[in-house]
């Protein structure tokens, strides 16, 4: 028995789609409340003036990791049924570069662009159109990119397996990295925000 999430439902069933819809709405609401529907907010990441994106995303990673660990330990979730995406070094490296360049240009990523579009921002709609165009183009090019598309396959890698650490110890290491990252991020924000305060006063 898997609870609280019906992960054992067949793919594409009404139940699975309902859960996906509810999770999507919740995710979008959280992004909007964190102010990530604004391109200016996201561009602050690259100008090192506002690292909210880094903090929100790393908080989500740590929360999900701790949640999965303890829900599994309590017997409420079967980690063996949680899909771990496969690693393809070549295509994921190329995709990461394209994604990063697109995010720096647009000031939005796929999730935040949907949030921006849902709240009526024109730039959000433009980015949504752009990434659907990109998905279509990639789909059409896949047959010609066969060797690149499957290059560097490494299977489902996890950090603990890769580094030979126990999952619990890996959890502590990632949480410690997150905490250190938050301290450094706030220090950077403080450093870059200080001159602006003086100008305004």
């Amino acid at each position: 028995m898997i609870a609280p999430f019906p992960l054992s439902l067949p793919s594409g069933s009404v139940g699975t789609l309902g859960v996906a819809f509810a999770v999507g709405i919740g995710f979008g609401w959280c992004l909007e409340r964190a102010g990530l529907g604004s391109a200016r907010k996201l561009m602050g990441q690259f100008h090192l003036t506002d690292l909210a994106v880094f903090k929100v995303m790393f908080s989500a990673i740590v929360t999900a990791m701790l949640g999965l660990f303890w829900l599994s330990w309590l017997g409420a979730l079967d980690l063996g049924r949680v899909y771990v995406p496969e690693t393809f070094i070549g295509p994921q490296l190329a995709g990461g570069l394209v994604f990063g360049a697109g995010m720096a240009l647009a000031g939005l990523c796929p999730g935040t662009s949907c949030v921006a579009a849902a709240t009526g921002r024109i730039d959000g709609l433009a980015v949504v159109g752009g990434f659907f165009t990109g998905v279509l183009a990639t789909g059409l090019l896949v047959p010609k990119l066969g060797s690149l598309y499957a290059g560097g396959a490494r299977g489902s890698l996890t950090l603990d397996a890769l580094l030979g650490m126990r999952p619990g110890v890996m959890t502590l290491v990632v949480v410690a990295c997150a905490m250190a990252g938050f301290v450094v991020a706030e220090w950077i924000e403080h450093q870059t925000a200080a001159p602006r305060v003086e100008t305004e006063s």
Binding site: L66, W73, T171, V175
Partner: protein, 208 residues
Amino acid sequence: MSASLRDVRRALVAGGLMLAVLAAVVGSPAPSTRVASSGSEDARRLAPVVPANLGALQLAAWIREGSRELRVLDLRGDSAYEARHIPSAEPIQLSQLDTLASSVDATLVLYSDDDVRDIQAWANLAARGHRRAYVLSGGMSSWMEEVMEPMLHGDSADYVAALSRYFGGAPRAARAREERVSRPDTKEAEERAPATTDAFGEPARRGC
């Protein structure tokens, strides 16, 4: 930031750190023995033995993903194993399960051609603390039907086809099935046909 918000943030940070430290102490996210042994001894003795079943497609996905600590155990006997077996499967006899060297956290998938043997093997593993032991539903025949020669239809057709080809399978389009359904008299015609062996018991040639 207000003082109350700062307090909430500090509490969340402290809670997260505490859970992380405890996770390091616990080590593994596998369900604890305390949870596993909840309930009275009587209730567990009276509980029916219902093995955890696993579909062939799910097993194929796990093998392809290279899931950690996955072992596939073939209980059908050496001759059946040598004739045909699931990739990465190990031949093993029921009596050898008592001395199976495997972590209790490992994922074990059993299959045979005998439901009783499946249940015996699964119960043996479950009694020795293997919480991730599964019986392949339908055994080797379901592997052949669902992975090696799957009938493709619906939204999952591409996924199933890719999975099948990964194992060297030959997925079939649903159209072939429809053609067979539209010509139900084919099998009857074959049954009505004369014997296909010649006087010496050898297969008779057709079309010559």
